[in-house]
Symmetry: C2
Subunit: 442 residues, 2 copies
């Protein structure tokens, strides 16, 4: 049988990795797929550089539409990124009857509903293993490996840049801004790191996973997104003393008790205290890991490189093999794009952040005088927020103020915010209260 | 469309879990699979108990062959276990044109070649996610998630009983026999624990994973198998002091340098020193985890419950959903049973244990006198075995003997065995030398 012919749109880091791995392991991949898989055409604005990467025997063009128009191309890989031209090209490839493989989480988290509907209409597959957690086959685990389960929650370190920064902050006791510069110098953070450090990239990925886990449409606009730019070395240190590490987690959680008993989904990205003894707390540097809790399987965890040329290429090629194997299957019986059949998605709402339930870490800078703790704990008690642990430092010599650290039990965020506002108004609370969410992940 | 009808052979722990989860999550599973999946017939010798478990509406019979003969049954789940009747029934189900789902690692590790050939002949699938590492979708990761990669090695904690025992031995400083009794009392070890504690169960699973990873036939008879019965609390303690934990690992490794350059596969199960800082070293109790190293993806790890009623049911049901989705696919383009196309399996040999390359931990009980260390280190130097670390304890008061602990760099096992024999012959070596393999898993 003649090889599956693949057209590649955009040959940057991941594209050149995909080209290289597909070539290096072509024999191994053919032995698995039962058919050769070849990138026969590449489109990139930088034709010269593209030609250098692919060498002879692969057609290089500047115009992506020439790839889509090529009737010999079976699968189009989109590695351009972003919402603009990438969206147009993906839709055009689908319209031309091509299967599509993409690593574009931003595109799918925002425009997934439209794109998957178009693909369904044309009977083609849009595969996106590379969009979440690089080479870790987490999309496959959620979509196929855990189909027996009601997923209860998932929580992931799904942005390598921020995990690298947090690991360095903890290891070296440095503040965010210092470590960010270092990460940029080492290539772990981009020149404009906004999407990473503000949590947007993680939220794109969490959005995709929430859809796969719970059978809901992608709803990036409903995600609560916080990054790590406000995090201080002080809180990382206190957390450590209390047996916790701070990780930027993307979390999606089923809440059957919420929304007046009609249920809801929590979808949120924020720095999170996690018990140090959990495996996920020990995922360091640019590595990724995703925990998935299912009602039958219990806790599972998936770990690996979340970015980089060849790890991401590993996921892109796994999708190519899947399509090569499965495109003969009756389209109605293929694995659905979002794990659930498209007419079986539910409208379970994403809960507003005020309705989220978590435990909290609070740091209050207080005057070192009688009655301070009583006032604080009274406010928490009145808000029905129970305290799990409390740590009061002795004042440093010559100072008459100190830190009070409080860990709470699970509480509704809105109640916590109201209580924080009341505590903040106390004359003995001398600085803005720091609050971080805490998850036991048990 | 009418539901897929499933017949269940053997309704013990995993079978009743499968029945319960399929019922509890039927709506969720139907939304994913696009079709209902129902166990409509159960065969178990204990008809009474089976009827109690399944209630009304499911036919219960004593004769498994009645299930296979039922033309309405699409998929047969084999949960009887063992090589005997289970083998006959699986082959009969295949011959009757049924797809088969099984958790029977022993059967597939030993008779897989025959069973998969029969299935191919009849155009049916034999799915076995539940055979390795319970609910962790590791078969799917190896077979579909990592298809881009040359797998370089895999290493797994794939037997919960032994991991529970090792965790307890380390935590409490107790010896094997004591902890085994405790594990039996708690239900973590069976009344006859031989298959678990002697490493046989782990070797069955490692055999299956080696086939999936490297494109070779299942060859359980070539696996090197050691259990944990000889392990002492002393060595666990010394390992800990040196920054290692001892885990029973199933290891499969590609060795392109071996077999006079023609390549070979290491396939072995044995207690192994692993650096304490690796995630896998921190997998405690009855949990399982598998590391897979691919040339593109780098290191990945998969973690979860490796046994138990519902975790294993999670894997069984994932297979049912896969079959439900994919049975319309052209059989030539389905995912092959052993990840590689059946006519593309290679005859790469499993290496004999003497040709395996690992580092070693040695403990020698020696006379506390001059020249002892010199004699030992000379033997190692002459065998070209280099020392990574050496720890000599002071003699206890009033004793004139002590322990010498040596960590070596990687060496060929045959050379190590010869050197150990020479050291053992030294008059100053007072007790049998303890040797354990050590893997950095980096």
């Amino acid at each position: 049988m003649k090889p599956i012919q693949v057209g590649l749109l955009g040959i940057g880091t991941v594209g050149s990795g995909t080209f290289a791995v597909l070539k290096r392991n072509q024999e191994e991949i053919r032995r698995r797929a039962g058919r050769g898989i070849e990138i026969t055409m590449v489109a990139d604005l930088n034709v010269e550089r593209a030609r250098e990467i692919v060498g002879e025997g692969t057609q290089v063009v500047a115009d992506a539409r020439a790839v889509i128009a090529n009737p010999d191309i079976d699968i189009v890989i989109e590695l351009i990124g972003g919402y603009g031209i990438a969206k147009a090209l993906v839709l055009e490839a689908i319209a031309a009857g091509k299967h599509v493989v993409t690593a574009n989480k931003a595109l799918l988290a925002v425009h997934g509903t439209e794109i998957f509907a178009a693909a369904r209409e044309k009977g083609v597959m849009v595969a996106f293993e590379a969009a979440v957690a690089g080479g870790i086959p987490i999309i496959k685990a959620l979509r196929e490996g855990l189909t027996a389960n009601q997923v209860q929650w998932l929580a992931g370190i799904i942005n390598g840049t921020t995990n690298f920064i947090l690991s360095e902050m903890r290891d070296k006791g440095l503040d965010f801004a210092v470590v960010l510069k270092e990460a940029q110098r080492l290539g772990y953070a981009e020149a404009d790191p906004t999407f990473d450090i503000e949590g947007v990239d993680a939220a794109h990925k969490a959005t995709l996973m929430s859809a796969l886990a719970f059978g809901i449409p992608v709803q990036f606009d409903k995600a609560h997104v916080e990054g790590i730019t406000q995090l201080s070395a002080t809180d990382i240190r206190y957390a450590e003393q209390l047996g916790y590490r701070i990780k930027l987690l993307g979390i999606a959680k089923r809440r059957d008790d919420a929304n007046e008993g009609k249920g809801g989904i929590e979808l949120r990205v924020h720095p999170t205290l996690v018990p140090s003894k959990r495996l996920i707390a020990n995922v360091e540097g640019a590595m990724n890991a995703v925990m998935v809790q299912g009602d039958a399987v219990g806790t599972t965890l998936y770990y690996g490189k979340g970015a980089g040329s060849e790890p991401t290429a590993s996921a892109v090629i796994a999708d190519l093999v899947d399509i090569t194997r499965l495109h003969t299957a009756d389209p109605d019986h293929r694995v659905p794009h979002l794990a659930f059949q498209p007419d079986e998605l539910h409208a379970t709402p994403i809960l507003p952040i005020d309705a989220v339930r978590t435990a909290f870490y609070l740091r209050l800078r207080v005057a070192d005088q009688k009655g301070v703790l009583a006032a604080i704990t009274r406010i928490l008690a009145e808000a029905d927020i129970s305290i799990d642990a409390l740590l009061q430092r002795e004042s440093a010599e010559g100072e008459n103020q100190t830190d009070v650290i409080i860990l709470t039990h699970d509480t509704v965020e809105g109640d916590m915010r109201a209580a924080i506002a009341r505590m903040q108004a106390l004359p003995t609370v001398l600085a803005p209260i720091v609050s971080l969410r805490k998850e036991e992940l048990a």
